[in-house]
Amino acid sequence: MKRNRLEIIRDILKIVQTNNSIKQTPLLRKSNISSSKFKEYFLELLEKGFVIESKNKYQEKVISLTEKGFKFLEQYKTIINFIEEFNL
């Protein structure tokens, strides 16, 4: 079944959370979306402050979850329930 926007965001953030910090390529692979779509979502997540990019000890770019990203995952069910409740 096709995932909607919020589901995709949740899945991407869950992958980052599970891996603590992850490089972009494995994240793209695990997200199971096209690279163009991934780029869109990734930029959105960066802009909104759900994830940040930093360098690990090997000077490789890695992505990790911010507090806001954690908050989204916590509140995900509430958001979905609210949308369903009010038919939005």
Binding site: Q75, T78, I79, N81, E85, F86, N87, L88
Partner: protein, 238 residues
């Protein structure tokens, strides 16, 4: 004519300080009523702030803005009532602008509130419709209503909106198999639209529901409280 319509042209020359608005309920009741509705609107708007900030979900945006606009409309509604009761617009040139200005704003915000609420339910299906069109339509309706100078036009427009709202809500809930008396939200929305029309009657034809004014006010407050309660419960706010 059986009822006193709010006719702007007549108003300037035959201002009656005892115009119906506050005969039945009094200034205090008007203040409380408006304050409660404005507060409800703001509670919904700010109560859903976090959900929107996290999700950027359009449906939530339109929903919360709808209640913000309801609150703003009620603010201007109260202003209109106070102006007609306390201030004599004949006294100062500047004050003569108040009634039509506040009424334009009341009509604009009340129209856009209804549009946003409907759009929050139908935006996925009505992708051809841009939000800016709704603002333009509301502005057009408010300006035309004032230029025509007869509140009956605006009342008829809102009755038309009510019919569109009822049909749209039925379509939405039929498709989701949620149409039943058990679905209190469906009922709450219907009642909200009905009481909105009654509030418009109350402001534009003050003597129309003179004896039922208090009942309308209490019922409107009840509806808003029910929606606020449901929103805050589902939004997980304290």
């Amino acid at each position: 004519m059986p009822y006193k319509y709010l006719n702007w042209k007549k108003l300037y020359t035959t201002m009656n300080p005892n115009l119906a608005p506050l005969l039945v309920t009094g200034l205090g009741a008007e203040l409380i009523y408006s304050f409660v509705i404005i507060l409800c609107g703001l509670m919904i708007y700010f109560g859903t702030k976090e959900l929107y900030e996290l999700s950027s979900y359009k449906g939530i945006q339109y929903f919360r803005k709808s209640f913000l606009f309801f609150g703003i409309a009620f603010f201007f509604r109260y202003f209109i009532k106070i102006i007609f009761t306390i201030i004599n617009p004949q006294e100062m040139l500047f004050m003569r602008l108040f009634p039509p200005l506040t009424t334009i704003l009341f009509i604009y915000f009340s129209s856009i509130a209804i549009f946003y609420l409907l759009y929050s339910l139908l935006w996925k299906k009505w992708k051809f419709l841009k939000v800016s069109y709704l603002h333009l339509l509301s502005a057009t309706i408010s300006v035309i209503s004032i230029l025509i100078g007869n509140s009956l036009f605006y009342i008829l427009i809102n009755i038309l909106f009510l019919l569109i709202a009822l049909i749209s809500l039925s379509i939405v809930y039929l498709r989701s198999n949620k149409i039943s008396l058990k679905n209190k939200l469906y009922l709450a929305y219907i009642l909200l639209f009905v009481f909105w029309i009654l509030n418009i009657f109350d402001i534009l034809i003050p003597s129309f529901f003179e004896k039922l004014q208090l009942v309308i006010y209490l019922s409107s407050i009840g509806i808003f409280f029910a929606i606020v309660y449901r929103v805050l419960k589902k939004a997980g706010s304290d």
